[in-house]
């Protein structure tokens, strides 16, 4: 018996931006990292296929030997393969158990399934690749843009320099591996025509017909799910909230499966934060807990944290860096101290730290696999910092305890303010997950998982969360915008999504698009159109337009605006 954890990797992030249908993506994501000792025990060679079995399903992936994975623990990057085997129970939080799932591993002669093979297992819809070639721009502007806002990860770096030649992006300066991959390959996996499913197959159609079909689905639904958003602009999000209100449905963004638990912690305790510039200028102690920015937010350490040069703290030498994680990571390599916490026991460790900070006696010699002396040392480091910060990652939100882990971490930071200056910040993943949470909260009063069944906003995580309404089969239609739940939700949720009429609005072709009944392609925010987006710390930025969009393709905001009008017409008889 092993313990399965899932999470982001740099290669998963990079290849996902190039395309989820590429071999590269499959090679990087349909894998299972296993400790060499464990490989020996189960008699599997690194590079051969294994079947991973849990109580929730099974999947064939490639075994990869990994020294950083502890014995007894195996790691599958987040994605369609991992979702076949994770635990869909959200325990009333909206967040499935994506880390710490008991599993069995055995050698197999079976081949690794492709994405469509996975989808076919859960639905009898026909799935076809609809990816088409971009229409080559005959002419186009040539220009170099500076201060470009990167719309990929929550760092939302705003200092890229992008040269455009004849309407195509030619080069990117200041970017990281992920932003380069995105900006130079964004049109690799795209469909350029609206589609509706007719006689079981997606066929190309006009925007007008696709919108009519979509409006009909939403207007006829009793309880639709309006989901996605974190990779589009605030402007688009506003329409999403209105559509949920008009249809009496539920609106949710991807925070449900990333930092939703952080919000739950905030609802219990508040939160003590700072913008990234304040941290860069002043933090002399930086803790990365359950996050791996070197992979997931590649420029974070250089621009804002460990390595960054600030006004009062000049760089890496003047900062102490601590990493707390279940296994060593590329980020822990740059740390002064690495604390290896036992999978699923972060809550215990944080509680012990709170006790140590307050000079309460810890009797156990080790807590969560960490020796007591280490905990006391760490508490001392925390108290003697001038300005400390804890960056919190999905290692805390996805693991057991979920919102409680975050609540406890927030309280630890609150306690520390009795001694010194201390803040924390959630490492939000998608570039505008923060902004869309804000839009939802200012329009409705709640930041995510908002239900309009009774004509006014209600919020009940575990009941009104996107994952739960799908897993329970509550919703009877879905509008998915700029998101790919088919790749990131547990199998049971995807099964229901495939059953109900589903509209997908997205600049790119995705596994979710391939199960859609209506698909409408749109522009990329920050490449083909403008839009307001919020960085992980809440700093708002306006993304630029760099290139002209393909002909007849509108922005999410515009398409949704038209959809709103049509649904209004049907619902209000206008």
């Amino acid at each position: 018996m092993f313990t399965l954890i899932t999470g982001r990797t740099l290669e998963q992030g990079r290849t996902m931006e190039i395309g989820k249908f590429t071999k590269d993506y499959m090679d990087r994501v349909a894998i299972c990292e296993i400790n060499p000792e464990d490989l020996k025990k189960i008699g599997v060679e690194s590079g051969s296929n294994v079947k991973v079995k849990t109580a929730y399903g099974e999947v064939v992936v490639k075994a990869v030997s990994s020294n950083t994975t502890s014995p007894g623990v195996v790691f599958i990057p987040m994605g369609p393969w991992a979702n076949m085997v994770v635990n869909p129970d959200t325990q009333g939080t909206g967040m499935p158990n994506l880390k710490g799932v008991p599993c069995q591993i055995e050698a197999t002669g079976e081949a690794i399934p492709g994405i469509y093979d996975l989808l076919k297992k859960i639905s009898d819809k026909t799935f076809e690749a609809k990816i088409s070639k971009p229409e080559v721009a005959v002419s186009g502007r040539s220009e170099t843009y500076s201060n470009v806002v990167c719309c990929f990860c929550g760092c939302v770096c705003d200092d890229l320099e992008v040269s455009v030649e004849n309407g195509k992006i030619k080069s990117v300066k200041n970017g990281c591996a992920i932003s380069m991959a995105k900006l130079l390959n964004y049109d690799r996996e795209r469909a350029y025509k609206p589609m509706v499913r007719k006689n079981g197959k997606l066929v190309e159609t006009s925007l007008e017909e696709a919108l009519n079909e979509a409006a009909k689905i939403l207007a006829e639904a009793k309880y639709p799910l309006i989901y996605g958003w974190s990779s589009t602009s605030n402007e688009a999000m506003r329409h999403g909230v209105y559509l949920a209100e008009l249809t009496g449905g539920v609106v949710d963004n991807t925070s449900v499966s990333c930092h939703g638990p952080t919000i739950l912690g905030t609802q219990q305790a508040g939160v003590v934060k700072a913008t990234l510039g304040q941290i860069r200028n002043r933090a002399d102690l930086i803790v990365y807990w359950g996050c791996n920015p070197v992979y997931a937010h590649p420029r974070h350490t250089v621009r804002y944290s460990a390595m960054a040069k600030g006004r009062f703290v000049k760089g890496r030498k003047e900062r102490k860096i601590v990493v707390v994680d279940v296994r060593p990571t590329p980020t822990s390599k740059i740390a002064d101290m690495f604390i290896q916490v036992k999978q699923g026991m972060d809550y215990e460790l944080i509680t012990a730290l709170r006790m140590a900070v307050k000079d309460h006696t810890i009797e156990a010699p080790t807590v969560a696999g960490v020796p007591r002396e280490k905990i006391l040392e760490l508490a001392d480091m925390f108290r003697s910092a001038r300005f400390g910060v804890i960056f919190l990652g999905m290692g805390l939100t996805m693991t057991s305890g979920k919102g409680r882990n975050l609540e406890e971490a927030i309280k630890l930071v609150q306690d520390l303010n009795e001694w010194t200056k201390f803040v924390l910040l959630a490492m939000r993943g998608h570039y505008n997950v923060t902004g869309t949470n804000e839009v939802i909260v200012w329009l409705t009063g709640y930041p995510y998982a908002v239900d309009f069944m009774l004509g006014y906003p209600r919020h009940n995580p575990g009941i009104t969360t996107a994952t739960d309404v799908l897993i329970r089969g509550d919703v009877d239609a879905a509008l998915i915008v700029a998101s790919d739940p088919a790749s990131h939700f547990p199998r049971k949720a995807v099964e229901h999504l495939a059953k109900i009429p589903t509209i997908v609005i997205d600049p790119r072709w995705s596994p979710t698009a391939s199960l859609a009944d209506v698909f409408i392609p749109t522009r990329y925010v920050g490449i083909e159109c403008e839009g307001v987006v919020y960085r992980m710390d809440g700093v708002p930025l306006r993304a630029k337009k760099l290139v002209d969009p393909p002909p007849e393709i509108l922005s999410d905001e515009e398409v949704l605006g038209k959809l709103v009008e049509k649904v209004e017409a049907l619902k209000l008889g206008r």
Partner: protein
């Protein structure tokens, strides 16, 4: 649509109209002379009703990062208080002390208010503030950038470079679409960045700078005068929330008295004075400093005040005074949020409940009313609740009734802490505001102190923002029948915004949007260039975004109303 509002008792202090029966005509969003109406004008029979300009609120936290942070941390504030959508008419929302944006617009409009200013926005995050303001329906609005701990301001003031300080602020107002200079516990955010700043006094030194809060207030007051901004500096005094702080308030007001140039208009506005009106030297010996403050204001024309009047019940305290919220977190243990914004400011949030039986809360309740009743000039006192700090804005009708009726106050006297009640002069005050004075403090004076020429009155050419209340001033004795007043003010009979009927019989009729005001001071080009170059060179070192992305375009806002301002700056 054209309207003729007939036979109402009109209250229009800026035009000296004191409840006379008059007709008010509306055409193309403006007040016109009745003779200009066409035959299509719709007649509104306002006989037996009061007609006033739409309400103007100069201080209410309705938008921006801290407001949403308050919403996020308080789902319980939203469970029970909500508004259902009426398809095609109005949208839905929720929240009592931290309502969602639609609810804010609707509830203000239902009370007959049509213009509201958000008094604290961190410049770096003002794009967010504008996004929320943009989503508040019906109201016209604006916001005050926080400048007392801004590094550029601090450096210029430290170098006594007032010209550049003013030029910088002029540039910033235009760049981020701000309206007035906000000062919160001057210099405190810089101290809080080091975990210090609790109880900072007017003459303490700000860490890292050779500056005191006094110098910051004076410097910003000078800059404001050079820029000739329409609103005075808007100041939340040092030591807010500490017993004995009324002295700081007096000192702060007096710190700029020599800068007043004999003009009638205030040069410093002291906000939510209740929170900085405490005598005594501990919570146990707390008493009111209200009399002293009122006396000063009565003798000095350069000061105006708003109350921050306590209303008993639940609130969400939120302020850029982060160290004070840290202190409050200890007085009221539970949830606490705090945010630092690089190079500029910080903020804190703590949920709180004012209890009638509580000694301190009773003293607080008395102070606001005492000040309001002792200040003689109604043009320099504003009946805010510092929403949502001392009470939600939806309590305004109740607060006004306390001012209008001794009886209404007496009813509360019976319920509150006896000992607390004796710590102020309130019980001995008989003054009752009349409806004309109420019109001044809730609309005319607000428009005047914000410099909004087309608001707060019903003269020809004014914006057609009009509130009609079902109140007959000839029949009702407000002193006795204050409950009728409260009922009428909670739900206006009609509210017109820009000439559109938006409320009838206290219900929202339509979802529409107002405009956002900001100032555009004319800074001489060469000076502007020097300052912008200066800002650019240090921006990269100080901020985590690029200078170019800091600036907010007019096209990012739904509808802007720039106010051109001629400055005294020389190039």
């Amino acid at each position: 649509m054209e309207y003729l509002i007939k036979n109402g008792y009109v209250y229009d202090p800026l035009n000296n109209v004191k409840g006379e029966k008059m007709d008010i005509a509306i055409k193309n969003g403006k007040i016109v002379s009745p003779s200009e109406l066409s035959g299509d004008a719709k007649t509104i029979d306002a006989s037996g009703m009061v007609v006033m300009p739409g309400g103007v609120d100069i201080h209410s936290h309705i938008a921006g990062p801290k407001v949403s942070a308050g919403r996020i941390m308080r789902p319980e504030d939203h469970y029970k208080v909500y508004m259902r959508a009426i398809p095609g008419v109005r949208r839905s929302g929720s929240g009592k002390t931290t309502p969602s944006t639609y609810v804010i617009g609707y509830k203000y409009a239902r009370m007959g208010w049509t213009t509201v200013f958000e008094p604290a926005t961190p410049p770096l995050e003002t794009r967010h503030t504008h996004e929320e303001l943009d989503d508040i329906p019906i109201l016209d609005k604006g916001c005050f950038p926080l400048l007392d701990s801004n590094w550029f301001v601090l450096e210029y003031l430290q170098n006594k470079d007032y010209d550049r300080c003013a030029a910088f602020i002029g540039w910033l107002m235009d760049a981020i679409k701000g309206y007035a200079i906000k000062i919160v516990d001057p210099g405190v955010a810089e101290a809080w960045s080091l975990g210090m700043g609790v109880g900072l006094s007017l003459d303490d030194q700000i860490p890292n700078y050779n500056l005191t809060p006094r110098e910051i207030v004076r410097g910003l007051c000078k800059a404001n005068q050079m820029l000739k901004l329409p609103h005075p500096i808007h100041v939340h005094c040092n030591r807010l929330g500490f017993p004995g702080n009324y002295v700081s308030t007096l000192d702060t007001m007096d710190a700029v008295s020599d800068l007043a140039l004999n003009q009638d208009t205030p040069i410093i506005h002291i906000t939510h004075v209740q929170f900085t009106g405490y005598a005594g030297d501990s919570w146990a010996t707390l008493a009111s400093g209200g009399e002293e403050i009122a006396k000063y204001v009565n003798n000095h024309k350069h000061v105006s005040l708003d109350l921050g009047q306590i209303v008993f019940g639940d609130v969400t305290t939120m302020t850029a005074d982060a160290p004070f919220e840290f202190v409050l977190h200890h007085l009221a243990p539970g949830k606490w949020s705090s945010t630092d914004v690089e190079a500029e400011t910080s903020s804190g949030i703590v949920p709180y409940r004012y209890k009638k039986k509580n000694f301190v809360n009773t003293v607080q309740w008395c102070i606001g009313l005492e000040v309001a009743l002792l200040v003689k000039d109604p043009w320099r006192i504003f009946p805010t609740t510092d929403h949502p700090n001392a009470g939600p804005f939806t309590s305004y009708p109740t607060v006004l009734a306390w001012l209008m009726s001794r009886k209404a106050r007496e009813k509360v006297f019976e319920q509150v802490n006896r000992r607390g009640l004796r710590k102020s002069a309130l019980q001995a005050i008989d003054r009752e505001y009349d409806l004309y004075e109420i019109t001044i403090i809730t609309r005319a004076a607000g428009a005047k102190i914000l410099g909004l020429k087309d608001k707060g009155h019903l003269g020809v050419g004014a914006d057609a923002d009009v509130a009609i209340y079902n109140l007959n001033p000839e029949k009702i004795d407000f002193s006795k029948d204050w409950e009728t007043f409260v009922k009428a003010f909670k739900r206006a009979a009609y509210t017109f915004k820009n000439g559109e009927m938006v409320v009838k019989d206290g219900e929202i009729l339509r979802h529409m949007y107002g405009e956002t005001y900001y100032v555009k001071p004319r800074v001489p080009e060469s000076l502007l260039k020097t300052v912008v170059e200066d800002v650019k060179t240090r921006f990269r070192e100080w901020y985590s975004i690029n200078f170019e992305n800091y600036v907010i375009g007019d096209d990012e806002l739904r509808a802007v109303k720039p106010i051109q301002v001629e400055t005294t700056l020389k190039g």
